[in-house]
Symmetry: none
Subunit: 193 residues, 4 copies
DNA sequence: CATGAATGAGCGTTCATTCAT
DNA sequence: GATGAATGAACGCTCATTCAT
């Protein structure tokens, strides 16, 4: 399996750094190769083309979110607790890795429609897990049972996304983690029964 | 004033159409010129460069939002009422003009970091009016007086933005206006006192 | 009409020179542009892509052959006379322009299958005129009336082509024009009644 | 001797197949290696470089022609008979092996000038045997004793070559062998005493 | 002998912007 | 003011060849 080889990860990590430091449109394949310490051509032994690198970056990093969210769903107690932890985890991961935050919140969105659609389908898995928490909470009476799940999910994700994007756009000037309790409160308030 | 001349508006409108129909990366200056019925060179009599066209598009269209929001603030009764109307108005404008919705929610976000920062500063005026509604509501006791205004604003705007973007990405498959009361409820719930 | 503008001809002529001097695979667009005294991008105002340049070279030059052959058919007396003159003309044109001879006999044949098929369809017009001479001669009793026209044409063209190609491959070491009467004799002998 | 080892022949045969099926420019070394069932690097144990493979293909296949032509010269009766048999043999070999026909008549000609010059020198041996038949016939009075041998050879070879190439380019749509008597007649007519 | 992962030079094409008319 | 022909910098990808194992 290609993705288990060390160079695969090397290139993915290099791509995140190059994109974060240079911006999406200035992240040439040759720059990524150089950063990864391999020849340009080597990139193409592991990735079909440039788009494939970018999708893979998103895939690999999103997998971390999905995995931890699955863990939260399995081990969390109430739905409120799960949702709170999911928010906390989302903020934690991106607060810890500013390169990743820049790439996912700003740079990767500059990709064209096609790539964005592909990225969205990767995101879907994460959002479906979120839906699951919301539905469980509605059934258990923790969340408003009459609300529209899609809208609720968009509110949760939209709030998280806007909050983190603003933080990145403001050059990480304030402490992101500090916002977590307030974000949790806002969101839980919005959907509570 | 250049922006009062007929060709200025012609070019702005042409840009929206061309971007909506071709996507951001296929919206060449020559296409915009053709759509506007002017020569390529003429564009540069009205705009400094391509980026200037795009910012101006956002500026001009955002002005509509700002104006109507000012009107709402002046004529609305309670803060809840104002916020509800602001949400309704935002959805209405974009539901009515799908070209504009595509351009603002999808295409213009593919611009580079610099352009997006400039767009954000255009957006700021709108967000400041939103802040004003929120602060008024906190002072009047309609909204939770202990909440973080910035976060509240990000929740409001993030929810609206995510909702409309999803609608555009799903090819306008469902009725956007129908969502308004539910969005209002979710948001007001989140920030209520 | 693009092909009437001076730069069109400039680029065509530059392409012949560059291909003749550097070989087909070393005839980069930038070299052709430089030789033509225009910018790289200017090429693309007159030609769709590199292949289009090469087909156009063949088209334009082939037109000269076709035109003079039409003239020969109109003004020649007997079919033998017409065929003789056609051979003479073919040799004359290429003996006079060694760049063109190199390009048509050696370099353009290195193009890929697709391009060669397109070149062949340009050649077809010329070969149809040749067929006409042959058929007329068969009907008038000058040429063997029982022969296969396609084969006869292939013999005529194959002989001419091989003769000239050999001359080019041998670096124009001998006088091509001197061969004309002998080639005429060989060919006319082959197909005479 | 490398050329006696089984892998040498394997690679040569693989090259013919790969070139015939994919075209000259799509016949990568790695494809040939795969077809031959060896690793890419192994190719370079038997051939200096890619060009060497192609020349060797031509060499090996041409050897078949030369050998049969030598046989014809030894066992044929008159010069006319030998020339007729040579034509028949040439058509037979290529009509029987369409892969080889495609490779020699179309694909190998896309190689660059240098390679083609080398191929030509391989061809020389064959053409010298042809010259020998022609000279013998001129001396014996069967062929026109005043003709130019080089031209006669070019006529013979040019006709054969053009005939077979046309057949290949027309996707083998008609029966090549059927043409043989007519080609023989045309050629013999052209050079007869 | 045989392998196959790694290398890195090379090029057609686009398009924002200019400027002579 | 208006035109549109001309400019030229910039980059993803392929593939013949090498060499450590």
């Amino acid at each position: 399996m290609k993705r288990d080889k060390p160079k695969y990860k090397q290139i993915i990590d290099a791509a995140v750094i190059v994109i974060a430091e240079n911006g999406y449109h200035q992240a040439q394949v040759s720059k990524i190769a150089k950063q990864a310490g391999v020849a340009d051509g080597t990139i193409y032994l592991y990735f079909k083309n440039k788009e494939d690198i970018l999708i893979s970056v998103f895939n690999e990093k999103m997998a971390v979110f999905v995995e931890s969210l699955q863990d939260i769903i399995e081990n969390g107690s109430t739905s409120k607790d799960k949702l709170s932890r999911m928010i906390e985890n989302h903020f934690n991961v991106l607060a810890t890795d500013r390169y990743l935050a820049t790439v996912t919140q700003l740079e990767l969105r500059q990709s064209n429609r096609d790539l964005r659609l592909k990225i969205n389908s990767v995101l879907r898995e994460y959002l479906q897990l979120l839906d699951q928490i919301l539905i469980d909470g509605m059934l258990s009476g923790e969340f408003n049972p009459t609300m529209d799940v899609r809208l609720a999910r968009q509110m949760v994700f939209g709030t998280i996304d806007e909050t983190i994007t603003s933080w990145v756009m403001n050059d990480y000037r304030y402490d992101l983690i500090e916002q977590v309790p307030k974000v949790q409160a806002l969101i839980l308030n919005g959907i509570k029964a």
